[in-house]
Symmetry: C2
Subunit: 130 residues, 2 copies
């Protein structure tokens, strides 16, 4: 009980610190394609090309790269059937689901705020610079 006590916000990891490994994981999770990929997989497993269609605009290369990073971080599981033609299913791990849940809450919050955001932009763009 001496030295470091264990309070609820006494975290070993801190994204605000440049060198903390959590910053890299946060970037995988919130990156341009990482967030949408996790969001898409929250509903259930998807195959590579299903995912590609779901995440509108992603290229093969970026999706592949994104999936590798998420798999390495333990958020996504990859299951390959040794059939011909090959069939590969991607789905979230329990950890991935917990992260995706928060991510989707954020996504829905943003989607639901877009009328306000667009109005704010309009106001910002039309105001006179003093």
């Amino acid at each position: 009980m001496t030295g470091m006590t264990q309070e609820q916000d006494d975290l070993a990891y801190n994204v605000f610190a440049k060198a903390c490994p959590s910053r890299g994981t946060l970037e995988h999770v919130t990156g341009r394609w990482g967030g949408l990929t996790l969001g898409a997989l929250q509903e259930g497993s998807l195959r590579f090309n299903e995912l590609r269609r779901r995440v509108d605009g992603v290229s093969e290369k970026m999706l592949s790269q994104t999936l590798h990073a998420l798999e390495r971080d333990g958020l996504v599981h990859r299951e390959a059937q040794p059939t011909n033609p090959p069939r590969v299913d991607y789905y979230l791990t329990p950890l991935g689901h917990r992260v995706a849940e928060r991510l989707l809450a954020l996504i829905h919050c943003v989607e639901g705020s877009m009328d306000d955001v667009l109005a704010a932009r309009e106001a910002y763009d039309t105001r006179q610079p003093s």
Copy 2:
């Protein structure tokens, strides 16, 4: 009651669609510096250089650019005192607070999962490629 009905997920905006304006806002919010900036401001208003110290690693240029985007989207408010030397305070709008709340839930989830993430990476990196 004909035509489009209003269900809970019948959203006007959809980040999964490439051309939806919500995708751009999501990127501002989850971008490399946008997320950390919003997270830092959730606790209260900060001045430019305070923010810069808080968001470890951000350059003047990127912080300035990030703040402009968040201000334009109506998430951050900028208040300049006409003093000399100048004093400028940044703080979240009500909308910014709602977004930052979800963002911090995600951040804390990631920070709290890092032991698992690091273990997953270790396993991924040491396994034999079949």
